[in-house]
């Protein structure tokens, strides 16, 4: 297993906050960096283990091929759907302008 540096730097916090669409105050960045570094240090106990001969468990179950038939079912009434919308217009959800392109 390659050695991974078990620290969570300020830059790391800024990076993941951006990926996760979280806006942090400058003071928060340092606070979280400290907390996350200490958590990661603790859990990184496992990163040093030799698991080369061990397969991953993505899932506790061992089932496969769970499928459903291609038969139409009930949909939600649009009023009910849009009733919870923070902002709607013309039957659609309204959002501020989208700057970025689809990744």
């Amino acid at each position: 297993m390659p050695e991974v540096s078990a620290s969570f730097s300020r830059d790391d916090v800024v990076y993941v906050a951006r990926l996760a669409r979280l806006e942090l105050e400058p003071g928060e960045v340092d606070l979280y960096a400290g907390q996350l570094a200490s958590i990661l240090d603790h859990v990184a106990a496992v990163t040093g283990l030799d698991t080369s001969a061990v397969p991953a468990t993505a899932h506790p179950l061992e089932i496969e091929n769970v499928l459903r038939s291609d038969t139409p079912g009930s949909t939600l009434a649009r009023d009910e759907v849009l009733a919870q919308a923070p902002r709607a217009e013309g039957g659609r959800f309204r959002v501020p302008p989208i700057l970025g392109e689809v990744p």
Binding site: L19, A58, H59, P96, I98
Partner: protein, 482 residues
């Protein structure tokens, strides 16, 4: 295959295409909302495809069946696969992740043979869910000047198969040809209706250039917003030239995503110098693995029957028995429109293969839906009438048009249209009359004047009101001369 561009000799364009194909299922990929085009916004939605808190996906069996059909049709290995989450934020994504397949897709490898015989490799084809649709409002509909956006989730969760080709395409023509072939294959599997104009088929192109004969790949750009075959071809040509000019001037091509602008006929850079997006793929914990059995795959293989390339070969063999060149374009048209069974059926009932093929490709092709339901026996009869000279080419086409319009028997239609087949005696009598009326011309013809033959033929045609078969008349005149 090198394509020399005017002013840019010695360069080669390398293209790989990613084609997203909407599957013709009744319901969406992970829920039982209707998979329908054109409904009122947000009326085909439920907790699952809206990604409401607590909702869970359940996989559509028919979508899997279609994906397997596509894999078999592309010659892929159909394998056990799992789903992955592709994580990113965008308003048209209800969960802000897309359920897709990453490094264990259902279909691996494969190959598509084009009408001209060239082969394009397939890297993979996988299942994924579609996103909703965003409309930008204000600012002339341009993304960057918009005041706000509106989102409709009817399309969110519609099943897609994404087909990724190898970078084997070497020209705009070949790119178009590949998409056409792919579309024909998809229609043949029943998995898709292949309608680009309705968004059933969407194309992204990865384009790079390199010095002709080089083995290394140049830096590629991804080009999006290709809504038609025409756009695809134009974009390939434009982008190739753009990149060549950059490199020829000593610059480097920036790896980026570019947007094709159909009106302006150019690509423009979309993404700011941003690093490659971190999608944080991980196995979808709400779904279990998919493992189609050998029996299922075999059943699909058996059910699919021959694919377009094989069908072209089969038809070509029938037609090429006389050794003369095979009309490849006609084969492509006929197979592409699903009319090869008609031709084969007609040939089976005695029709002349070349003529049947020609009429199918040139005339029946105008109304493909009707042509597909045409009775091969009736079609054979028509072809035989024409081949025997009892109907002229013009007449035959008219009868065929009538058959496509409203069905019916060729002989009855011919009679109704006044195209009664000219009996031999009647024809000979007509020729006799024409020659008797024009003795001077007849004398010149006997003396070897070929041009006057046209005049005499015209007279016979006039006298028989077009019912005479030009070739038969010519043959008869020839026979009389000697």
């Amino acid at each position: 295959m090198t394509t020399d561009r005017p002013g840019h000799p010695g360069w080669e364009v390398v293209v790989g295409l990613e084609v997203h194909c909407e599957l013709s299922t009744e319901t969406k990929l992970f829920c039982s909302c209707p998979n329908a085009f054109g409904a009122e916004p947000n009326t085909n939605v439920c907790p699952v495809c809206l990604g409401l808190p607590g909702s869970l996906p359940v996989l559509n069996a028919r979508a899997v069946e279609f994906a397997v059909r596509i894999g078999v049709a592309l010659g892929s290995r159909v394998e056990a696969s799992i789903f992955h989450r592709k994580n990113y934020f965008y308003p048209d994504m209800p969960k802000d992740y897309q359920i897709s397949q990453y490094d264990e897709p259902i279909n691996v490898g494969g190959c598509v043979e084009l009408a001209d015989g060239s082969r394009i490799g397939i890297v993979r084809a996988h299942i994924e869910e579609d996103t909703g649709k965003t409309t930008h409002v204000g600012g002339g509909g341009r993304i960057h000047d918009a005041d706000y956006a509106l989102v409709d989730y009817n399309r969110a969760g519609v099943p897609l198969v994404e087909i990724v080709s190898a970078p084997d395409i070497r020209s705009a023509d070949q790119a178009r040809s590949y998409v056409n072939e792919l579309r024909a294959i998809l229609i043949a599997t029943g998995a898709s209706d292949g309608r680009m104009e309705e968004g059933s088929l969407r194309i992204d192109a990865n384009i790079s250039v390199r010095p002709a004969g080089s083995d290394e790949y140049g830096t590629r750009c991804e080009v999006k917003n290709l809504n038609s075959l025409r756009s695809l071809g134009r974009a390939v040509d434009y982008e190739a030239v753009r990149q060549i000019e950059v490199l020829a001037a000593g610059g480097t091509v920036v790896q980026e995503t570019r947007h094709w602008n159909e009106e302006e006929g150019r690509t423009s850079s979309l993404r700011s110098k941003e690093e490659a997006f971190d999608y944080r793929y991980f196995a979808e914990p709400d779904l279990v693995p998919l493992a189609p059995s050998e029996a299922e795959i075999d059943a699909v293989t058996a059910d699919l029957g021959p694919l377009p390339a094989a069908r072209r070969h089969r038809l070509g063999e029938l037609v090429g028995t006389d050794g003369s060149p095979i009309p490849v374009d006609q084969l492509a048209t006929v197979v592409g429109l699903g009319l090869d069974d008609l031709v084969l059926g007609a040939v089976g009932h005695g029709a002349d293969p070349r003529l049947a093929l020609a009429r199918a490709a040139n005339e029946a092709a105008n109304r493909p839906a009707e042509a597909r339901s045409l009775d091969p026996v009736a079609f054979a009869e028509l072809i035989t009438l024409e081949a025997a000279g009892q109907l002229s080419a013009t007449q035959s086409k008219a009868v065929l048009a009538a058959m496509l319009e409203g069905g019916g028997e060729p002989r009855q239609i011919a009679a109704r249209l006044g195209f009664e087949a000219l009996g031999d005696a009647e024809l000979e009598a007509a020729i006799d009359a024409a020659l008797a009326a024009h003795p001077a011309e007849w004398a010149r013809f006997k003396g070897g004047d070929a041009k006057v033959a046209q005049f005499l033929l015209g007279e016979v045609m006039r006298a028989t009101r077009g019912r005479a078969n030009g070739k038969v008349v010519a043959a008869s005149l020839e026979a009389r001369r000697s």
